[in-house]
Amino acid sequence: MRTPPGISEVEFSTALQAFANVVGKEWVFTSDEDLHTYRDAYSPLRNEPDERVASAAVAPRSVEEVQEIVRIANRFSIPLYAISTGRNLGYGGSAPNYSGSVVVDLKRMNRVIEVNDSNHYAIVEPGVSYFDLYNYCREKKLKVWLDVPDPGWGSLVGNALDHGVGHTASRFRNHFDAHCGMEVVLPSGELLRTGMGAMPKSQTWAQYKLGLGPVVDGLFSQSNMGIVTKMGFWLMPEPEAFLQGKVMVRRYDDLHDLVEVLKYVENMAIAPGAPEMASPLLGAGGDTKTLVDIFLNGPPQLDRNHSELIAAAELGYSRKLEQYGLDNNIPYWSFHVSFYGPRKVVEAQWEAVQDIMTERVSDAIFQAHDVVTDRDEAVRKAEVYAQNMGVPNLEFFALGTRGGGLPPTRGHLFFSPVIPQSAEGILEANRVFNKAVNDIPLLQQVPMFNLRPFSLPTAFYERCFLLVLGFPVLDDPAINKATVAAFRELIRIGAEHGWGEYRTSPIFQDQVMQTYSFNDNALLRFHETIKDALDPNGILSPGRYGIWPQNLRGTKP
């Protein structure tokens, strides 16, 4: 029998019986077979002594059951670890930070509380996936669009709490910012509602975010201060039309103007859709649809001369490569952008983007799909990424399958530091990480994607870039071990330059939190002060995002 650290089998059995009395014995899982399904399916530490594993799992169906589980955990000092759908793959999945924790699996709490297509919001429980809510809205013919991340099996609540992002307009892509109101079971078992939810009889829980007084919602994201049991989200009214365009420039130095336009048109709300960058000439980056096509079918074959020029380029540049692009009408840089609204508006927005770009780079090139007014048809034809129109699927998980022509993998990890949103920021990050790979043998030992020949950042978050480097998780424990070490090295190098991870897997959360170290880690110490006040017994998700309760602070793994 697995037990939490420091808990005897007798004590644990008593606690498990108490959990069973609350949820029913069929919803308490302790067998190796069942606990296998709670492992991190993408862990690079799989089968290693330091793999993070649960001692049991318990699956409540209601808020009241969650409250009772938390009270029992306090009584027996049992560490809990809450998951929503457990599909945060690449970021820990359903496995706890602290081995031996009991996973509180909220998947059975899968009720759509409300979708309002007049005020355009939804209130859902943690077990509701993007697929679930999408199908619910379709079935009821509700006139709203969701903002969905790449994988549709994730939880709206869980994704927002882990700072996940989606693909539609900027005011919806940042899933945490798009939330409005939450309900939380505190570590004491007490129930809290934030925003207008704190006012009895309020009808505006999902309409006004701030309520009165300090806004505490952020305390429950990337943290362990409570178990969120309901969340409201603002949704996009179903637009009349969708338009996607592509802006392209021809020369290496045009990158500066391209990024300036990218920022301006998004921050001015002219172009609200996710601007996704690429280099057609370098065969690098690309909108997500292009990447998924590569995952499914392999990379496009380039002319041999072209490939050799790319290989010889430094920091993505050579005069010959640039000339090759000019001669063959292959743009150096591009970004996709999307528009939502009435046909007249999206067409005018697209025209404005073209004008603004042409003002800076007179020979810029533009392409656009025809205006989409039938989303089903556009999805069926698969010529636009479905997620750009709020339709969930699992196409992105072609990454690591045999489809791309490589052997299948056991998962992936993403190193994703926040870098400045500027051309110089992109170039500097490429300079630094390329030099690191050239200089540090460890970084040469592991497979890594999206660094060479040039790394284009993602712009799913407004006002910044995320430079995303990927690592496959393989069958070879030695390579996985080297990958973990390389990842840690990249975290260190990034932090030296002020580039911090926006989100990371539990095995790296302590290190990353330590990089946010201003004034002797004042931020972490603040988190710990709150943690100690709310959770004196340290029962809730110990170690989540580097926040350890007092009783484990000196002994954390």
Partner: protein
């Protein structure tokens, strides 16, 4: 002079929009039709996003590479699957496909799925299948 290259990829006429919308609605109704077996419903909810018939389903694409002409890539077209094989994959996972928990697919639903994919929903036989090497 501004150079605009407009690519017409998604040209839609209003007439065709209407008929296609109806087709989509019909397809949705079919998916939700009460006559769909319990196993088919489990497949559509949990498996079809990766293992559906078509060219953009990661599981199907991967199995097409793996099996070539030897076996169908889409699971619903396989004749060699047994409930035991299906259960093993669902609960164990394979490569980047994670295992599925009982809070997602209950044992009862898994049995229905196994019967559906082994084409034994109305049969009580115990036909044997092949456990692929990576799970042996």
């Amino acid at each position: 002079m501004k150079k605009v290259l407009l690519i017409s990829i998604l040209a839609l006429s209003l007439t065709s929009c209407g008929s296609r919308k109806e087709a989509a609605d019909d397809q949705a109704k079919e998916t939700l039709a009460p006559q769909a077996s319990a196993g088919k419903q489990v497949f559509d909810k949990w498996c079809a996003y990766c293992h559906g018939k078509g060219e953009r389903f990661p599981g199907t694409v991967s199995l097409a590479v793996k099996y070539g002409e030897d076996l169908p890539a889409a699971l619903e077209e396989r004749e060699d699957l047994t409930p035991e094989t299906v259960s093993l994959f669902v609960r164990q996972g394979v490569y980047s496909m994670p295992p599925f928990r009982k809070t997602e697919i209950t044992d009862e639903e898994l049995a229905a799925l196994g019967a559906y994919l082994s084409h034994t929903e109305n049969l009580a036989d115990d036909a044997e299948g092949v456990v692929p090497p990576e799970l042996q």
